[in-house]
C-alpha cells in the first residue's frame, strides 16, 4: 500500500498556512516549496542545543526569526567556544525545508542502488523491518545483523535495541576516524587525552588541521597560542590552513609520519632531553621503550620521512626546552600510516617523556564526575552523576563479535564494544573472518555512511549487495541510504530533544544534549522514537521503559531536578574548578574549594596520577608482539604513482554538509591539488578536467595547481563524488575513499588514507 505523497496535506499539518508549488516526484522527500511557504514554528528566544553538522557536537543556541528562518549561534555560556559557530553549524537550519530531505519512510522497489522507491507508512516500515529481522534471526541468528550508529546519542538507542534483539555486533564510526588515538590514550594513560593548546608555548602538529576541519574550541585555542607567541610546527604534505598559519611548515612524506616521531623520540631519549624525574615517578616501561626506539636515529629516519636529520634534532630540542608547556598533537581523523597504533601511541608518549601531562599547556586527563569525585573528601559536595534507566538484561550471546572484541586474544581489545571495528562489517559479509564462525547477513545503519566514508567503495557495495537486509536511518537519501532496502526519516537535530550527557575536561561537565528549536516537519521522527517504536513492533518494548526524552532525562538526573532545569535553560553546566594534577597552583585552588581533597595531595603539593603512564604495553605485547614501538616500512604506492591523500574542507566535512545548499554553493566541487611541476609532466593545466585513478577506482575532477603541496602528492578534500542520485551534485568531484585499499590496521582496525594513484588529463 504505497500512497502518493500529498504534500498539501503534509504542509497543512506541519505549518497550517503553507501551500505548495512544484510537487516533486521523488517519493518520500519534501519537494520544492517557495520561500513564503517555509514557515518555522518554534521559539523566538534562543534555545540551547547541540550542533549535529559535524561530529564535534558544538554547543549552540538557535531561535526562530519572524517564522522565516532560524539563526544559529554558539552557546555564549560555553567559554571554550566563545559563543561561536562555524559555517557548517550556521547552515543547519537550511536542512529543515530542504526539498531533498526525507519526510516519509521509503522502501526499495527495484534493485539495490537502482533508485526505485515507494513511499510507505511508518507502520509498514516497522512491520517490514521487524519481520526481516525475525527471519534472519531464525535462519542465521541475531548476531549476524550488524548495527552501526553515529557517535553520541543515536548510538545509545540503537546499540540498546541491537543487544535487546540479540546481536553483539554493534559499532560506531570510529574505525574510519579517530579510533587509534582513543585506543592509544586508553593504553598509555588509561583514558582519552585532552590538550591544553591555548597555554602551550610549543606545538608539533602532524596534520591536525583544525583551521579547516574546523573544531571551534581547538581553532580558538590554537589561535590564542599563536597570538601569545607560541611556536607551532606543522608537518603535512600539503599547505593546509594550519600549515599556513604555523611558524614552520615541513612537507613530510605521506604515510611516513611514524619514522619522524620515532626519530624525534630517539633524540629526546639519546640526548637525555626527557624529564627523568617525571618519567621515573609516573611512568612504567621506559627501558623497554628506550630499547625499542634505539635504532630510529634521525639519520636513519630522515630519508623515510623526508625531513632532514638536523631539523628533527632541532625540533626535538626546541620542544623539550619548551616543555612542560609543549604539546605533541596526536591529531584527528585521516589515517596517516599503515601503523596507526604505533604512530598515535608514539605521539602520545612524547608528552609523557617531557613531563607535559596534567600541567598547564600540556596534556590532561579528562575528569568526569567519577574521576573528580574520587579525589574529594567525604564532606565535600560531589559532582552529580547520571543514572542509567533500568532495563531488562540482554539475551546471552554465545558467539564472538566479528572483530572478536571481548575475546582474550583479540588484537583490537583497546576498542570499546560501542566503537568496534565497523570497517570489518563489509568484509564479514563477504567472507567468514578468522575466528568468527559466521557471516554478516544484515546491516542496520543509523546516520552512518559506509558508501561514502569507508575505504574502498567496491568492497562496501559488494557487501551491501550480498546482505539480506539493509536498513538506513537518515534525514536524507545518503549514499548509503541509496543502497538500502528501507530508509527511515530521522528528524534534523533542530527538531529533536535528546538526553543529557555527562563528560569532563579539566573538571566534570554536563550538557542538555539537544533541545527542539522548531516543530518537526513532515512525518520524520527522532531516533529515540524510531528505536522505541521499532522495539515495540519487535516485541521488545520492555527495553524502552520511558515515555519520551523528558521522561528519560528525569530518570537520568534522579532526584536532581535542579540540574535538569539549569541544563535546559543554559545548555551546559560544569562542576567544581579546573584541575591539573601536576600543577601546584591548580591543585591549591582545588583544595581550597574542596578541603576534603587535601588528603590526596602529596608532599610536593601535587596529586599523583591515578594510574601509571604506560610506555610499554604488556597486553599488546601478549596479543600481537607490539608492546614497544617499531617501524615497518610499508609500500603505499608503485614507483610511477603519486601519493593520494585527503582531508577536510572548512565547509563540507560530514554527511550533513554533503547536501546542504548553502555549503554546496560555497564549495560545489573539491579540486585535486597538484604541484605545478608535476602537472607539467602530465601536461595538465590549472582547471583541467582530470582523472585520478589506480587499481581500485577511477575518479574524475578538476586540477588545481598549487605550490602548496609536495611534488609527489595529490590531495583532495573528501566528501565529494556522491553516489546517491538523491543528493545535490551527485557524482561531482573526487570520491576519495573509492581510491583507497580495503585495509584493516593492525591493532587499530583502522582504514588507510594513503594510496598510490596516477593522474591524466581527460
Amino acid at each position: 500500500m504505497s500512497k502518493e505523497v500529498n504534500r498539501r496535506d503534509f504542509l497543512k499539518l506541519s505549518s497550517g498556512t503553507a501551500a505548495l508549488v512544484g510537487l516533486s516526484s521523488i517519493p518520500g522527500t519534501l519537494g520544492a516549496i517557495s520561500s513564503e511557504q517555509k514557515r518555522f514554528n518554534g521559539s523566538a528566544k534562543f534555545v540551547p542545543s547541540v550542533c549535529e553538522m559535524c561530529t564535534s557536537s558544538c554547543t549552540i543556541e538557535a531561535r526562530v526569526e519572524n517564522g522565516k528562518g532560524v539563526f544559529i549561534r554558539g552557546n555564549p555560556n560555553d567559554k571554550s567556544r566563545g559563543g561561536r559557530v562555524c559555517a557548517r553549524g550556521g547552515s543547519g537550519f537550511n536542512q529543515l525545508y530542504d526539498p531533498m530531505r526525507l519526510i516519509n519512510p521509503i522502501m526499495r522497489v527495484g534493485e539495490r542502488g537502482e533508485g526505485k522507491w515507494k513511499e510507505v507508512s511508518w507502520d509498514e516500515a516497522y512491520t517490514f523491518i521487524a519481520k526481516k529481522l525475525e527471519e534472519i534471526k531464525e535462519k542465521y541468528g541475531a548476531h549476524t545483523v550488524a548495527w552501526t550508529a553515529r557517535s553520541g546519542w543515536t548510538k545509545v538507542w540503537f546499540h540498546h535495541l541491537a543487544q535487546a534483539y540479540g546481536s553483539p555486533n554493534i559499532f560506531g564510526h570510529e574505525a574510519t576516524c579517530p579510533l587509534a588515538y582513543g585506543m592509544s590514550g586508553k593504553d598509555i594513560y588509561g583514558s582519552s587525552i585532552g590538550r591544553d593548546f591555548a597555554k602551550a608555548k610549543y606545538i608539533i602538529n602532524m596534520g591536525h588541521n583544525v583551521f579547516e576541519g574546523v573544531v571551534i574550541s581547538y581553532a580558538r585555542q590554537y589561535m590564542s597560542a599563536l597570538q601569545n607567541g607560541a611556536k607551532v610546527v606543522t608537518l603535512d604534505p600539503r599547505l593546509s590552513m594550519m600549515a599556513a598559519k604555523s611558524s614552520e611548515w615541513h612537507k613530510i612524506k605521506p604515510g611516513h609520519d611514524l619514522p619522524f616521531v620515532l626519530a624525534f623520540m630517539n633524540v629526546l631519549i639519546t640526548d637525555e632531553l626527557y624529564d627523568k624525574e617525571f618519567v621515573a615517578k609516573n611512568c612504567e616501561g621506559f627501558e623497554e621503550l628506550k630499547n625499542s626506539v634505539k635504532e630510529y636515529t634521525p639519520e636513519a629516519m630522515a630519508k623515510e620521512c623526508d625531513i632532514d636529520a638536523g631539523t628533527i634534532r632541532r625540533l626535538a630540542h626546541e620542544f623539550a626546552a619548551a616543555a612542560p608547556k609543549a604539546i605533541f598533537d596526536y591529531g584527528h581523523r585521516v589515517t596517516l600510516s599503515a601503523q596507526e597504533m604505533e604512530l598515535r601511541r608514539a605521539m602520545m608518549m612524547i608528552n609523557a617523556l617531557v613531563g607535559a601531562v596534567e600541567k598547564e599547556g600540556g596534556y590532561y586527563l579528562p575528569k568526569n564526575s567519577k574521576f573528580y569525585n574520587a579525589l574529594l573528601g567525604e564532606d565535600d559536595p560531589k559532582a552529580p552523576s547520571l543514572k542509567k534507566p533500568k532495563t531488562p538484561a540482554y539475551p546471552k550471546v554465545e558467539v564472538p563479535r566479528i572483530d572478536r572484541i571481548g575475546e582474550e586474544d583479540c588484537e583490537y581489545f583497546l576498542a570499546s564494544k560501542g566503537q568496534g571495528i565497523t570497517t570489518l562489517v563489509p568484509k564479514a559479509a563477504l567472507n567468514e573472518l578468522p575466528g568468527v564462525p559466521y557471516k554478516i547477513h544484515g546491516w542496520f545503519i543509523v546516520r552512518n555512511n559506509p558508501v561514502m566514508n569507508y575505504a574502498n567503495l567496491e568492497t562496501v557495495l559488494e557487501a551491501i549487495k550480498a546482505m539480506d537486509l539493509v536498513v538506513a536511518v537518515d534525514y536524507q537519501v545518503s549514499d548509503t541510504a541509496w543502497y538500502a532496502d528501507i530508509v527511515l526519516p530521522d528528524t534534523t537535530y533542530l527538531e529533536r530533544d535528546q538526553e543529557i550527557t555527562a563528560g569532563g575536561g579539566k573538571n566534570p561537565s554536563f550538557s542538555i544534549g539537544r533541545q527542539k528549536v522548531v516543530e518537526p516537519i513532515g512525518n520524520s521522527k527522532p531516533t529515540w522514537l524510531i528505536a522505541k517504536e521499532l522495539a515495540e513492533k519487535m516485541g521488545l518494548g520492555e527495553y524502552f521503559p520511558w515515555a519520551d526524552v523528558e521522561d528519560y532525562r528525569l530518570q537520568q538526573v534522579g532526584d536532581d531536578i535542579d540540574l535538569l532545569a539549569e541544563l535546559k535553560l543554559k545548555g551546559l553546566k560544569s562542576f567544581g574548578v579546573p584541575l591539573m594534577l601536576q600543577d601546584k597552583k591548580s591543585v591549591a585552588k582545588f583544595v581550597k574549594k574542596f578541603p576534603g581533597a587535601a588528603a590526596k595531595v602529596n608532599e610536593e603539593g601535587l596529586i599523583d596520577f591515578p594510574k601509571k603512564i604506560q610506555l610499554f604495553s604488556h597486553k599488546l605485547e601478549k596479543v600481537s608482539g607490539t608492546g614497544g614501538l617499531s617501524y615497518n616500512p610499508y609500500k603505499y604506492k608503485e614507483v610511477d604513482e603519486l601519493f593520494f591523500i585527503n582531508g577536510k574542507s572548512a565547509v563540507r566535512t560530514n554527511g550533513a554538509g554533503a547536501n546542504n545548499v548553502w555549503l554546496n554553493n560555497l564549495l560545489s566541487e573539491a579540486a585535486a591539488w597538484i604541484h605545478p611541476n608535476t602537472a607539467k609532466k602530465f601536461g595538465i593545466k590549472d582547471g583541467d578536467e582530470i582523472e585520478v585513478y589506480n587499481k581500485y577506482a577511477t575518479q574524475r575532477g578538476h586540477a588545481m595547481l598549487t605550490e602548496g603541496i609536495r611534488e609527489d602528492t595529490v590531495f583532495a578534500y573528501f566528501g565529494f563524488g556522491h553516489v546517491s542520485k538523491k543528493l545535490r551534485f551527485s557524482g561531482k568531484g573526487i570520491h576519495s575513499n573509492s581510491l583507497y585499499p580495503s585495509f584493516t590496521g593492525k591493532n587499530s582496525g583502522m582504514d588507510l588514507h594513503v594510496v598510490g594513484v596516477k593522474i591524466r588529463k581527460v
Partner: protein
C-alpha cells in the same frame, strides 16, 4: 555624539572558514545565489624568505566615508545614515546600477528579489537595533572581525585600532573606508 561604526578584519586571525558568510546569509535572509560577504582565500603566496601564506580578503562593503555610491545615485536611494552606515532605500531606487558601477570595492549586487542593489549593512536592519553585533562578527570562530563605534575611545574597535597596524583596500581612491584590515604576517618558515 553620533556613532561612527567601523569594522576590523584581522587577516592574521582569519582562517577563511566562511562562517561569517553563512551567518550573514542566515540572519539577513540573503537569497542563495548572492553574497553580501565572501572571504576569499588567495595564494599561496611565497614570501621573500620562503614562507608560504594564504591571504584573506574580505569582500564586502567597506562603508566608505566618502561614498562614491551615494554621490552618483540619481534618486538619493543610496545614502549614509547618521551612524556612518552606507545603505540603500529600495523604495526609491530605480535600479540604474550607477552605484554598482561607481563602487570601487565590488560591494554591491542586485538582489534577485528586490531587484535593487544590496550590500552589507552592518546588519542595521537585522541586529543593530536589537543591540546585537553584526552576524558575521558574532560567529567568527577565531574572532577575526571586530565591530564597533570608532568615535567611542573605550570601544573594542578603538582599542584594537590603537594597538595594531591596519590598512585600507584601495586607499589611493580617497574613499576612506571604515573597514580596517590587519595585514597577514604569519606563515611557515620553509625548512
Amino acid at each position: 555624539m553620533a556613532k561612527k561604526y567601523g569594522m576590523i578584519h584581522d587577516e592574521n586571525l582569519c582562517i577563511g572558514c566562511q562562517a561569517c558568510s553563512i551567518a550573514c546569509r542566515s540572519e539577513n535572509d540573503i537569497p542563495e545565489s548572492v553574497y553580501r560577504l565572501q572571504v576569499r582565500v588567495l595564494g599561496p603566496k611565497k614570501l621573500p624568505d620562503g614562507n608560504m601564506i594564504f591571504e584573506f580578503h574580505r569582500q564586502s562593503c567597506v562603508h566608505c566615508e566618502n561614498t562614491p555610491c551615494v554621490t552618483v545615485c540619481p534618486t538619493g536611494a543610496s545614502f549614509v545614515d547618521e551612524n556612518g552606515i552606507s545603505l540603500v532605500n529600495t523604495d526609491i531606487c530605480v535600479g540604474c546600477l550607477y552605484c554598482n558601477a561607481a563602487c570601487p570595492y565590488d560591494a554591491r549586487f542586485v538582489n534577485p528579489i528586490t531587484h535593487a542593489p544590496d550590500k552589507c549593512t552592518f546588519c542595521k536592519e537585522s541586529r543593530l537595533g536589537r543591540g546585537e553585533e553584526p552576524a558575521c562578527v558574532s560567529v567568527c570562530p577565531t574572532e577575526a572581525i571586530v565591530f564597533g563605534d570608532i568615535n567611542d575611545p573605550t570601544s573594542k574597535i578603538s582599542k584594537v585600532l590603537s594597538q595594531r597596524p591596519t590598512y585600507h583596500q584601495r586607499a589611493d581612491l580617497g574613499t576612506e573606508p571604515k573597514m580596517f584590515i590587519v595585514p597577514n604576517k604569519k606563515g611557515g618558515i620553509q625548512s
